[in-house]
Symmetry: C2
Subunit: 404 residues, 2 copies
Amino acid sequence: MKKTIDEQIKIISKGAADIISIDELKEKLIKSEKENKPLIIKLGLDPSAPDIHLGHAVVLRKIKQMQDLGHKAVILIGDFTGKIGDPTGKSKTRKPLTQEQVLENALTYQKQILKVLDKEKTEIKFNSEWLSKLSFEEVLKLAATTTVARMLERDDFKNRYSNNAPIGIHEFFYPLMQGYDSIKLKADIELGGTDQTFNILMGRTLQKNIEMEQQIAIFMPILEGLDGIEKMSKSLGNYIGVDEKAEVMFKKVMEVPDNLIIKYFELATDEHPDRIEEIKKELKEGKNPRDIKFQLAKIITNLYHTDKETKYAIDYYEQVFKQGSLPQIVPELTVSSECDTLKKVGTVLVKNRIIDSNNEFRRLVNQGGVQINNQKVTNFDNTQIENEDIIKIGKKRFVKIIKL
Amino acid sequence: MKKTIDEQIKIISKGAADIISIDELKEKLIKSEKENKPLIIKLGLDPSAPDIHLGHAVVLRKIKQMQDLGHKAVILIGDFTGKIGDPTGKSKTRKPLTQEQVLENALTYQKQILKVLDKEKTEIKFNSEWLSKLSFEEVLKLAATTTVARMLERDDFKNRYSNNAPIGIHEFFYPLMQGYDSIKLKADIELGGTDQTFNILMGRTLQKNIEMEQQIAIFMPILEGLDGIEKMSKSLGNYIGVDEKAEVMFKKVMEVPDNLIIKYFELATDEHPDRIEEIKKELKEGKNPRDIKFQLAKIITNLYHTDKETKYAIDYYEQVFKQGSLPQIVPELTVSSECDTLKKVGTVLVKNRIIDSNNEFRRLVNQGGVQINNQKVTNFDNTQIENEDIIKIGKKRFVKIIKL
């Protein structure tokens, strides 16, 4: 059943840090309904290193919620700047990406993004399609839309300018290009983190300049990682990747600090705002946060995995982490029939990233940290491995060997 | 006979406000002589309104002096920006020029420029040849060569920024384009007024960036106009146009204030520095400035007119302005045979810009300010005009009517 406009706004606003503006959003929603024309929701992504975690997924989930309301997403891969790399030629870390690398990254993105978004309502575009064709004359017209003073209002430019840190003139083009992309996509809504405020508002300015209806800016808050303090990030190790196995994801959500439970419900799930209000109430009334987090972990895991996988993750968690016993369900590791010693199994474990290196594995065996079928083993090189042996590595990692 | 390097530097330095740097200039001159390869001297010109006066000619004369030393001039018409006009679309006065207008202006320029420069050693180029072909990627690389802080060191940007006057981001490209032009021309020397310091040094920076030998910057001072105070400019009416008639030019030079005689010798003639030193000495020793100015007027007039025309200008000046009598030699005005009344002659006078309007002429007649063959006339509409009549208009203007 079609949702009312107010209900739509309620869902879209859930968890958002800011929306510019709610009134314009309402107008767009009314018009969209009247003309039976979905709104175009833009999300720009950097093509350099696609590996999506729940922090990135905050904007994607918000887009998914709008797709469920009938709207259309355009994921814009910013390949134009990626292909240029660092135009000063100074940075070794920002090497230009080849067309192949960009496409490869885009495919990885697509695979991960479609774990959140509705494939039928998602289009993927590359901004080199129009940016690489701009003439110098068009570039100058684009540059003429904005003053130096306005550009220096952007936080990072302002800070660098006042600290005498160099700002290359080409950098002024990044917000301009992002705004130009909004024109090209005829974007109705652009999403981004609060750090994207300047760039997304630039899209509004440029659209207004050519008398196009301005896009709505929806700013989503930063999601803190498992440490509860820092922004979720792969390099800080405080992240939950959308590609992680169900049992890993479930366990990680259970590690989220209690004070972030509601924020995770708002930003990392698609739960209805009314349901979240209820949970808030339950927490206030003294319900055990652990039980609520259990629900959260189940919901989040189930967003990225099948029901079966989610059930497995719950069972695994309860057995290993709550009871501390040997789990009834153990992940299986398929090996070739020649893989008959602990050392050879080690190589397969490294390949599957269950352990970091064979040396680490050897050390663990020597320290008595490895068991086979509940028996401690000490001979790394020569211990024989049979089909269906269960290997316990350290305190909590188990694998069942399945020989081909 | 080939001049020594020191003699060349002496001539090039004459009157210059600054040269960056003399040492590098010396190196270039030595190399040029050794390789028997003329230096490339760049002068950029705006294609909007070509009408050259002695103020503009200061740089041209300096180039001519270098051409006489064997070097080659490239006059660069900045048609690229001219064709774009005002990219903000706000200015009505900076309408984009069409290709035809640019070419027409360039022809007018060429005609005027070649009154100063040596045609055989002058090439005319248009920067749209390379600028219109730049891709966005190349534009970004160009922008990346310079920081915002460096750009805001330019006087006019600095002033506008500190006065909160808007600076469009496209404006940052004007110095960058000028610098890029120097790369494309492989310029050895660029000339300009002292107001061009930032832009010309940008050429050095960009050339250095790509490891090209840096151009020498020669800055010429501003030439004050006939009022002795303001910069020579058409709109202030204090100018001497290179296209003006010999007798007008001669008379105007005679109006130059005495304290500017030496500066005019330095900047508006090609006289050798040693000769100018002599003149300075003569002035100090009490020689009548009027006599020296008479020489100056003769030299300047002869730079732009034939010997015969110059002689005529001198005779005319001596008769009309020194003696106050009816001149023996009067400029001739050719009219059609039907042009038989004072009123009809007025129309031709307006057309030839001898008077501003027929109304002004009528007023002058009514006030008794017009004579025919030494007889005052008062009837504007019906006074008959015969072949060879000499008309005196006001105090000092004379024309002889020649009927076809």
